[in-house]
């Protein structure tokens, strides 16, 4: 059972990294740097399917390996991304203890992701004025969160038969 769990974890981490790279290469960001955050779908699935610790592992791997593959490890974008992932993971951990639904969890984690990224930008570039972007990022995050949440809910329904019993 442990091996199966590891295989699932590796597959989910690979999917998160692949989605992260795919989004950077083919979709990119919209106005004000708003992104869909396709890899968040995998974070949600991992948390609901395997557990919180596994979700944290997938998120950490996606930031480190995703940036490493793009040649941006320890570049400003790495720290900005890490800020977003740390805050969104924290929200996921908290919401996992409540009976929140997948879509709601996704929206709040997406909001936390944007807030975390913005916080790092403000601290990194000493630009407190960037805080005015928060309402626009919030609006984008709510939309992106609903999209990723619904996708994750659909995927979770389909992979339910694969759920581990142990």
């Amino acid at each position: 059972m442990k091996t199966k769990r590891f295989v699932y974890l590796a597959l989910l981490a690979a999917m998160a990294i692949a989605l992260n790279l795919f989004e950077s290469a083919f979709i990119g960001s919209f106005a004000y740097g708003i992104r869909i955050g396709l890899a968040n779908i995998i974070a949600l699935i991992t948390m609901r399917f395997l557990g919180v610790r596994e979700m944290l592992a997938v998120n950490a791997l996606r930031v480190i390996i995703g940036n490493l593959l793009r040649g941006l490890l320890f570049a400003p974008s790495f720290f900005i991304g890490a800020g977003g992932v740390i805050l969104s993971s924290l929200v996921l951990v908290i919401l996992n203890r409540t009976a929140s639904t997948v879509v709601f969890t996704s929206v709040l984690s997406s909001l936390a992701h944007s807030a975390g990224q913005l916080l790092v930008v403000i601290l990194l570039y000493h630009q407190p004025g960037m805080a005015v972007l928060l309402p626009y990022l919030m609006l984008g995050s709510i939309g992106a969160g609903i999209l990723t949440g619904v996708t994750a809910a659909l995927a979770l329904k389909r992979i339910e038969p694969l759920r581990l019993n142990g």
């Binding site: 009976a99 639904t101 879509v103 309402p135 626009y136 709510i142 949440g149 809910a153």
Partner: protein, 118 residues
């Protein structure tokens, strides 16, 4: 797993957050009528023009060497079409209300500086 995708109270909470963000976004997007900052332009020690950096405009200022134009855009201003030998005033680039060093054109005896703040 019988959990619904989303509950009614969660929709309400998301709607409240979205409404708050939308209100703030509209507030920030509204053009500001005045910035509370007045920029002063002096020529040969005399005040010849004042402007609000929130209002986009181009002001022509006569000077001892042929004068210059001050272009105001998006809360910033810079010197263009300057009639002077060194062009130092134009090279100072875009200035904002936070800049403490005034734009100076010595040949034209023109100084552009932030005057009053509300």
């Amino acid at each position: 797993m019988t959990q619904p995708w989303i509950r009614k109270r969660e929709i309400v909470l998301i709607a409240v957050l979205a409404a708050a963000a939308l209100t703030a976004a509209i507030f920030f997007a509204l053009p500001k009528q005045h910035s509370g900052v007045t920029v002063r332009i002096e020529q040969a020690g005399k005040l010849v023009q004042t402007f609000d950096p929130a209002v986009d405009a181009v002001y022509h200022i006569e000077g001892s060497c042929g004068g210059l134009d001050v272009e105001v855009k998006n809360g910033q201003w810079h010197v263009i079409n300057e009639q002077c030998p060194n062009h130092i005033c134009a090279e100072m680039g875009w200035r904002t209300a936070e800049d403490v060093i005034p734009v100076t054109c010595m040949p034209n005896e023109i100084v552009i500086y932030v005057g009053e703040r509300e």
